[in-house]
């Protein structure tokens, strides 16, 4: 009998999904999940944002509500509002009408689209520079599209801070016209962001070397609670006009609207300043047509529901006000948990320094715990985090932060001792 698929090997599960499976199977009642990349409230429960709840009611009860196909580019009111929230209402890109937007399957889908688009049309150095470390999926997104991948230094493990010198010098030494992927805020997994002054150095180096920047914005408003502050690096890059390359922005509404599973996102292509109106329009329609073609052959058209909800959240004044409050609720709870964990570790006299926990922002903390510590945390204490030492701070709450601090303390002492 013909055997069609002889070479299919079974692969190990994605590490994060594997972690989740082990957590779910663990019978201990006081287990703690610090692996999840999703917000939890102070009771450890998933949280549907009140702004989203309100928008859903409004939408489903509205007279024209239906499930018709969206156009290939996506839902236009969503695309316009999404561009405005990330770029700012006064953005040069908006006033000059220098944007092409395509709705995508959340942040991952936007990254995939850029990757495939650049692989087809980019004539520069088809290598994407990623921070080291970076989000677990970045490498495969770009590699699977056919691009090459390299890294720039980011996390200085020794000092638990940003390696800005290594970062900038790698950009300066990369072949002219390379692709640089940047986390605009709440760097995943380290939680560590450049300061405004450091951003200027990074962007200057990119401009000087005529690199093409991709901003992967997965946490706008989630990091600081302020939409403006968390988008500052993107806005500086665009509005300063110093970057001669187009700028790609991958935008996810998974975390900041808490609609992880609805897959709402967009890719914005921003053309450089100073182009004649005519060539800009030609270019925009060419880019749009190609993004449409890619979308059409992969998914036909993007999902409607989430985009309609986000459009409502962004444009309906009442929903918008609620959402901005929801962002503060989420970010301030996370900031509070960072503080408590740090204070408790200091209180326990746990070996090491813990300022990095509060210097980091967003969902994650790169704790500095080693793989053997992470393993012991899981086995002995039922505290689950990635073997890289990345902890999802959202998994902490008033009811478990003490336990987690004590567990950290025990594994750090245990593993340091066994090394001696």
């Amino acid at each position: 009998m013909a055997s069609y698929f002889t070479e299919i090997k079974q692969l190990p599960p994605d590490p994060l999904f594997g972690l989740k499976a082990r957590y779910t199977a663990d019978p201990r009642s006081d287990k703690v999940d610090l692996g999840i990349g999703a917000y939890r409230d102070n009771n450890g429960k998933p949280w549907i944002l009140p702004a989203v709840r309100g928008a859903e009611k409004k939408l489903i009860e509205s007279p024209g509500y239906n499930h018709e196909y969206l156009g290939i580019s996506g839902y236009e009111p969503f695309l316009t509002a999404a561009a405005e929230v990330i770029l700012g209402a006064n953005s040069r890109a908006i006033s000059e009408s220098a944007i092409v937007s395509q709705q995508s399957l959340s942040g991952t889908g936007a990254l995939h689209l850029v990757a495939v688009f650049l692989n087809e049309f980019f004539a520069g150095n088809k290598t994407v520079y990623l921070s080291k470390p970076t989000w677990a999926n970045h490498h495969s997104v770009f590699l699977s599209a056919g691009l090459k991948v390299d890294t720039y230094p980011y996390w200085d493990a020794e000092n638990k801070k940003l390696d800005i010198e290594g970062f900038v010098s790698t950009i300066q030494n990369a072949p002219q016209g390379s692709i640089i992927l940047l986390h605009p805020c709440a760097h995943n997994p380290t939680g560590l962001d450049p300061t405004p002054a450091e951003w200027n150095r990074i962007l200057d180096a990119i401009a000087e070397r005529k690199h093409l920047p991709i901003f992967d914005s997965a946490y706008q408003g989630f990091a600081s609670g302020s939409l403006e502050k968390d988008a500052a690096s993107i806005r500086t890059a665009i509005d300063s006009g110093k970057i001669s390359s187009p700028i790609f922005v991958c935008q996810s509404f998974a975390k900041n609207v808490g609609m992880y599973g609805e897959r709402v996102g967009a890719l914005h292509v921003i053309l450089p300043a100073g182009e004649s109106a005519e060539s800009k329009e030609t270019l925009k329609s060419a880019i749009k047509s190609q993004l449409n073609k890619l979308t059409r052959s992969e998914i036909s058209n993007p999902p409607a529901y989430g985009a309609k909800i986000v459009a409502t959240v962004l444009t309906d004044p009442e929903s918008r006000k609620q959402w901005e409050e929801d962002l503060v609720t989420m970010s301030s709870r996370i900031i509070k948990m960072r503080n408590e964990l740090k204070l408790k570790l200091i209180g326990l006299g746990t070996p090491g320094t813990w300022d990095h926990i509060t210097n980091q922002t967003g969902m994650f903390s790169f704790t500095g715990l080693t793989p053997d510590m992470a393993e012991r945390l899981e086995k002995v204490h039922g505290v689950y985090l990635m073997s890289s030492g990345r902890a999802s701070v959202a998994g902490l709450n008033d009811g478990n932060v003490d336990k987690v601090a004590r567990a950290f303390d025990e594994v750090i002492r245990f593993c340091s001792k066994s090394k001696l």
Partner: protein
Amino acid sequence: MLRRSTRPFSVATRLAKWNEIPLAPPDKILGISEAFQKDTNSKKINLGVGAYRDNSGKPIVFPSVKKAETVLLEKETDKEYTGIIGSKKYQDSVRNFIFNNSGKDASGAQLIKEGRIVTAQTISGTGSLRVIADFLKRFNSAQNIIVPKPTWANHVAVFTDAGLSADFYAYYDKENNDLDFANLKKSISDAADESVILLHACCHNPTGMDLTPEQWEEVLAIIEQKKLFPLVDMAYQGFASGSPYKDIGLIRRLNELVQEGKIPTYALCQSFAKNMGLYGERTGSISIIAESGSQAKAIESQLKKLIRPMYSNPPIHGSRIVETIFSDENLLSEWLADLDSVVGRLNVVRDKLYQKLDKTNYNWDHLLKQRGMFIYTGLSAEQVIELREKYSVYATEDGRFSISGVNEHNVDYLADAINQVIKK
């Protein structure tokens, strides 16, 4: 064969080079919708879109779907990520719905029991076609697919974009407005052994003309003999008979052949776009029938690897509606009734249109054989253009009319317009 032109642009050398990005051709159906929007004739009719319209020309939300959404609004407690290939609940419901066929498909039930069916949630039907195309590109011995001529406008693009080569097999006889069965068999027999063959499960798009069970037997025998890999596209399950359980004769037969060891494996791309009216929610599935349970596990892991860098995981709104409907017997029977009435209306207007068409010089009998959302009129491109320009009747130039655009209020106008156009 369609190949991509790869014309690079250079960012480093400024914008001039960017202009070399060629303008990709616009989507035909979209173009028709746009022209329709701009037309000011109050009698205008849009027969381009493949989405259901009620008797007053309006989109509908299936009442059962609306109820499921109300349940979700009340009961949903999170909007978390689902799995890379969807939730287990979704996979189980869909697998059971299709392959267990409400307990009537013993072979399918056995395959489920043996763990040989991998089912993954996908981005509706298109996404499932794309995922299987990428999968076959990586793992199949043959790298080519044959599709019927004509076929859905997007099929070839989906497959060639994934790197497979696509070719046509004969399907339709335009002269006689009928299935071209002799040539269909001949061209399938002429295909290379082990080729992938795309089969429309029912309501062939665009012709609306399906094979009879006897004809399927003949085709399946050739498939078996030539070791072709059947890839079934089921976008209109329920639109042929009104019942989704009746429209899957091909699947049931394939399951038997798999059980008998005559066809080792096949794949099914399925969509809830039309039969639940979930178009824009992008809800569908891919199922791959593996040669063994362990192979099924390996396939599943590879599907995850393939999907993770594309979009991480599929959207949940539509899939939760599906889960809600399938887990509630009342909602399920309500949905079946909703679907039956949608299909009923289409059949009523199809008959009405047939009645009113002038048959003196033109044979319209093919209309009565066609099933699904479309009628394949056999009108020429010139005639379609005349309909558009003189009568504001918008359809694609292959003469495919979406009957859901026809209703009691415009059927006379439409029939008159067609009668005028064919007079010449």
